[in-house]
């Protein structure tokens, strides 16, 4: 599980983006287990709503408006940029531009956590490879995403199920999805369970 922490300076708190590997039966016609990533966050939308749970099964399961991912790092970067853009993090409400950059980062390589800092006076995140200037997101794109989010936020719902139950889920990033909440569990790999 990868946990990305994003520090909001004005609020003096951390928000998180969590990317978790999960598995369940998604297609009841074949009853095969499928593996997928679940991307979730507690970052609030700029309109006060919440982001839905995103399911990633292919590199095409990227946030709205994004191109196909080329690597897992690229995929995570796209989701991070999408969340902070729709949340309008780093949008300055002050006309002052004299303050120096106050962004900071904390890298936790041993626990797969990373942190980024956003503030209205700073427009950059700390990591050079994953920096995203929130000022680059134009107000038009933010507003268009906000309008998309307002329609989908009301549909968001999450459900949990036991590990032995099947779960239904949607891979569309604009729809809500239901996910199983099973923690680390065993499953028999269909490719190797016989003849050994």
């Amino acid at each position: 599980m990868a946990i990305v922490r994003i520090y909001h300076e004005e609020e003096n708190r951390y928000y998180t983006v969590t990317i978790t590997l999960n598995y369940s039966v998604l297609d009841t016609s074949n009853a095969l287990y499928e593996y997928y990533l679940l991307v979730s966050t507690n970052i609030p939308r700029a309109d006060g709503g919440t982001f839905p749970l995103f399911m990633v099964r292919t590199f095409d399961d990227v946030p709205p408006g994004e191109s196909t991912a080329t690597s897992w790092t690229d995929l995570v970067d796209k989701y991070l940029n999408y969340f902070v853009t729709v949340a309008e993090f780093g949008q300055s409400s002050s006309s002052s531009s004299s303050s120096s950059s106050s962004s900071s980062s904390e890298l936790y390589s041993s626990t797969s956590e990373s942190s980024f800092a956003y503030s209205s006076s700073s427009e950059s995140s700390s990591s050079s490879s994953q920096s995203s200037d929130s000022s680059d997101s134009s107000s038009s794109s933010s507003s268009s995403q906000s309008s998309e989010s307002s329609s989908s936020s009301s549909d968001s719902s999450e459900s949990s199920s036991s590990s032995s139950d099947s779960s239904e889920s949607s891979s569309s990033s604009s729809d809500s999805s239901e996910s199983s909440s099973s923690s680390s569990q065993s499953s028999e790999s269909s490719s190797s369970s016989s003849g050994l």
Binding site: A2, T20, L21, R57, T58, F59, W72, S114, S187, S189
Partner: protein
């Protein structure tokens, strides 16, 4: 949080496991040309099982669906250089390689031999 894939040998009545997780870390070693402070996100496969010649099976990393298990060139199950289309396909192929191993330079991949998982 990781997913543990259990492999049961009905012949030996023994279960082995491959742990799969999605991580975000600074990488060093063979997956990093040079160690930087940049974070990379990847799938990590680990197993405490050994191959039939007693060698620990070790760690495998997957950086993307376009990186098949054998030296980033070929998939272990089929002779194809196509990228995986889904996470499931990738995980299954990596687990397959742990269980069945591969011969030296299988499918022209240039990899060294890895014996099958010992049960």
């Amino acid at each position: 949080m990781s997913v543990s894939v259990s492999i049961f040998s009905n012949t030996a009545s023994v279960t082995r496991a491959v742990s799969v997780s999605f991580e975000g870390d600074i990488l060093a070693g063979s997956n990093a040309a040079s160690v930087t402070t940049d974070l990379d996100y990847f799938f990590k496969f680990i197993s405490s099982a050994k191959s039939t010649d007693g060698i620990p099976l070790g760690v495998e990393l997957n950086m993307g669906l376009n990186e098949p298990v054998l030296n980033g060139v070929k998939q272990s199950q089929t002779d194809t250089s196509n990228a995986y289309s889904t996470v499931s396909e990738m995980v299954t192929d990596f687990v397959y390689d742990y269980v069945y191993g591969h011969v030296a330079d299988q499918f022209g991949s240039g990899v060294t031999e890895q014996n099958p998982m010992d049960f």
